[in-house]
Amino acid sequence: MTSTLEPTRPGRGGPDLHTRLSSRTLPSWTAPVLAGAGAVIVVGGLLLGLGLLRPLLLAWALQLALPVASRFVEGGRKATDRLVTVLVYSAFGLALLPLGSIIWTVVSKGVPVLSAEFFTYSMRNVVGEGGGIYHAIIGTLLITGAATVISVPIGLFTSIYLVEYGEGKRMARWIRFLVDVMTGIPSIVAGLFAYALFVLFFGEGVRMGIGGSVALSVLMIPVVVRSCEEMLKLVPNELREASYALGVPKWRTISKVVVPTALAGIVTGVTLAIARVIGETAPLLIVAGYTDSVNFNLFDGRMATLPVFAYTSIRNPGVPPEFSLDRAWGAALVLLIIVMLLNLVARLVSYLFSPKGEK
């Protein structure tokens, strides 16, 4: 870093602090005014029907005037700082744009499709117009539900082991590490694993709803373990010790004191884990397959799910393609709403039921 102190000039009296220590700065209204001008350009562009992209680029370029002006008024270091500030804000904006675009695309294309028929009909014997996602909703609920039933006990007990029993043991360290690694298993590999497992029992070409549940569990368990572990760690040790002091055995302490105290956090974690796997497509495509009919039996034959339904409708739209594509957008919207709702519920639970001292 270069020195910012100027050499004191000889022949003057005491240092004039005011002129020495403050340099010229741009007025503080410069940045807000530029941002406002940018907003006016974007809104104006929208109103004039120029689209969003070009006005947005223009507005962004306008913000670069700030570092340029700063270069001449305030000097290089401040100018760099201002440039980086603009860039950092732009990075955030750049991340928001696609999110907005995705939500807008799905909502605008999906809403017109939603109707009572869309939710209550399956695709059985439907060619062209009509039909719905009833079978896919049933499949998604059943498969995800079964995955939750498998994952939550395993995940919860693993985290209990990690926090309550395995403290400091080598085995616990390894499990924690491998759980982290397991969060990175590609979903399609989980699907192949479930398929390879079920092939051993049921022969080649097996397609079953429960296979999808197993695949989703592989993806879900690590998420559940990590969030439950964090929550169990938050339970104060005083509670455990008070319970031990009363002569309560360890397992009752865990089941009656530790887990109930952490319950809100655990529910939040499980909800987020469900939200994470309910939109998975690849493993279900591999092992649950796709069908046009309603199937209530997890252990018998193919099952449709919302993501696979959306994928198949886009991939094989048939002739004419419009109706199938419309249904795909409808299914995508329903899926997006479910995922967002689950996220919202998770946040609400953790906000409303977390121990009062933590807020």
Binding site: F92, A95, V106, G166, A190, F193, A196, W329
Partner: protein, 294 residues
Amino acid sequence: MFSGISFGAASLILLTLAGVAIFLTVEGIPGILADPSQVKSGERFLPYVWPLVFGTLLAAALALLIAVPIAIGVALFISHYAPRRLGATFGYIIDLLAAVPSVVYGAWGIAFLAGQMVPLFQWLEDHLGFIPLFAGPASTTGRTILTVSVVLALMILPIVTAICREIFLQTPRLHQEAALALGATRWEMARMAIFPYARSGIVSASMLGLGRALGETMAVAMVLSASGVVTFNLISSTNPSTIAANIALSFPEASGLSVNALIASGLVLFVITFGVNFVARAIVDRRKDFSGAN
């Protein structure tokens, strides 16, 4: 007994992980050894899987190249630039990107992004065509590996951002305040106090993002128009496919030894992602031990 159940559940996780490797190997080996005439692709396993590995690595590397600078910017914005009260809210908003299902990304990629990319590709071909990456001829549908990388970049942005954000927030306050007190501007403070502290964290966050990008299936399968070639040309209509996308596209119709070949390619993908994640997590863990001292 309660302790027994807990221990059993924990061991089950180890078993599952081992099971993934074992089952994929058992089902995959016939595919690796299969005679070219018995599989649909009509090739030996290595020449069959190599273009896929290449495509997987290329798409993931490009996605990383796009995502990491943006993720660092966003993380810095949330941790140090945004008003403190709004920081957490902005964090949630970025996390929403992770909540969007991959099939929705795929649909959006086809319906919106691919179309928007076409003029860009045309421009790249006209003005930067001398670089082999943009040799063209530019795709008219926009469904190229560059578009796929943009979608992948979006999908890994939340996880990279989240980890970078955590680490930026952990930077010792005293380091930051010392830098500011010495007259550093905010950017100089970030460069001198935050980045050196966060370097290993950024590396491991990027590697976790890389792991995600390598294994992402549906967005690639839906957006890319693939033709199993090995090329660095990013904007033409002939693109290398990726392992995951190839499995998703071929599996529903595959039968016999072709299934085994696909499972074997899944095993290759598993080994690659496991390695990347293993190294990334090891860096994170090692860092944890050090940062306690601060």
